[in-house]
């Protein structure tokens, strides 16, 4: 009989982009977003950078960002976004999105895991890392999202 047996390649987890997440990626709860803080003007922007985009200074340092912040503005996407999006599940509108402002003052675009009615400016939110999609090689791509901070205890 000459059937070949295919060896399964182990699945890897990869970040959604290089320079945006702390490593290692395990355990998942320890992952933080990376930002770049300027030692001249104080601006903090998302991702590891070599220059300060706000003032062009070369005096920058890469820092892990805080996990919590507030909604600065928000909207709800009512349509499936254009190709090439690659989420594993069918992309089901309505999809909440916000500008989130973290305690360092940095602002970033994020999906918000909540019902559209819950969105409001000032809502306290916290970061989660989850599988966003699969890449071309079958790896799980880890993506950040924010969700309302749970009130009270469990």
């Amino acid at each position: 009989m000459g059937d070949t047996i295919e060896k399964a390649t182990p699945k890897k987890e990869v970040p959604f982009a290089l320079g945006f997440l702390t490593e290692p990626l395990i355990p998942r709860d320890n992952i933080r977003l990376l930002g770049t803080k300027c030692l001249d003007c104080g601006a903090v922007l998302l991702g590891s950078r070599k220059s300060c985009e706000a003032c062009a200074s070369l005096k920058v340092e890469v820092i892990p960002l805080s996990r919590t912040g507030q909604i600065w503005s928000h909207t709800v996407m009512r349509y499936v976004p254009p190709w090439p999006f690659a989420t594993p599940n069918p992309y089901e509108p309505p999809i909440p999105v916000a500008w989130v402002k973290l305690s360092e003052g940095i602002q970033l675009i994020s999906f918000i895991k909540c019902e559209p009615e819950e969105l409001e400016i000032g809502l306290p939110v916290e970061m989660v890392i989850e599988k966003g999609w699969e890449d071309g090689e079958g790896n799980d791509v880890l993506m950040y999202k924010f969700q309302p901070v749970k009130r009270g205890g469990k």
């Binding site: 982009a17 903090v44 909207t75 009512r78 254009p82 999006f85 500008w99 675009i109």
Partner: protein, 379 residues
Amino acid sequence: MDNAIIAGVGIHPFGRFGDKPYTEIGRDAVSMALKDANMDFRDIQAAFVSRMYLPATSGVKTLSTLGRTAIPIVDVEAACAGGGACLRQATTAIVSGMYDVVLALGVEKMPRGFMDPRQLYDLWQCHAGLTQNPMYWAMNARRHMYNYGTTIEQIGKIAFKNHKNGVNNPYAMFRKAMTMEEIMNSAMVCDPIRLYMICAPDEGAAAIILVSPKVAKRYTSKPLILASCSHRVSAIPFYNVAYYTNYETGNPPITTTSAREAYEKAGVGPEDINCAEIQDTDAFCELEHYEQLLFCKEGEGGKLIDDGITEIGGRLPVNMSGGLICKGEPVGASGLGMIFEICLQLRGESGPRQVEGAKVGLAQSYGSMGHVTVTIIKK
């Protein structure tokens, strides 16, 4: 340094034209401008061509249909501000003394449906699905409503005004007036922005021929003065397509920086502007641009539309052409389409959408990743 003079203007209507190649769309606009400037293509000494969704060397491919005359031809891209950026390159070529006759052409033939997000967004944003341009406009509107009490009705009124104006613009794609009910009940795209408050991508071209003052009389009996042409790219922060991070540095909006520069160079203030064509990719950004262009105080953009100031017949008519909401947005051509309308207005050739006695006009375009251009033209 002398100002450049506008000697000829031309346009190909904005809309959808099936299989008509972009080279012909562009050629039609150039031919109209050449006729308007009483010259032929051999008079053009240099050309700048604004486009974004066309292949490399689109400028050469378009202009060579008129002839290969060994002139320098450079393609310019600055997203939706490409037309204004292109005009600025042409202006610089004239006022530097290097050329006497320069063409600024904008041409675009956009694919149907959503624009390919990979042109504007990083790949991870595409894969995640964070690529709907309207999400930015919607969040800007939401924040402005939170800060200043601006209402969705005020935003709707701007769409209403522009749809009404577009009826009288033979070069616009959409020429049907809409009721406030139709606008306010149209499909929600990104809360709170609805479908009839947003422009559509399409096809078109606009051409402006600039000449130096010393040769102007040879070509035109109705010269217009290009009093200033500012192009700036935003510092941090800019809350627009397609960036994913910001920081409140206290920098003013880039439209304001660009406008101040243009006003100063032209020796005028916002109170001297008789008519304006400004970016209304969505109806909210027109409102925001009223404030950023210093037509009114910060936060008072809603009051300007409530008081009818920006209607044709008001103190400062805005988007007499129907704006991008009616013209659609052929990205590379859009900014030059605004210039075309201002020129018609200053010449008294705008028919039923004419602003009486217009002598000073302003055009502003705003593009992805923070491009802005502000142009002031005088009779």
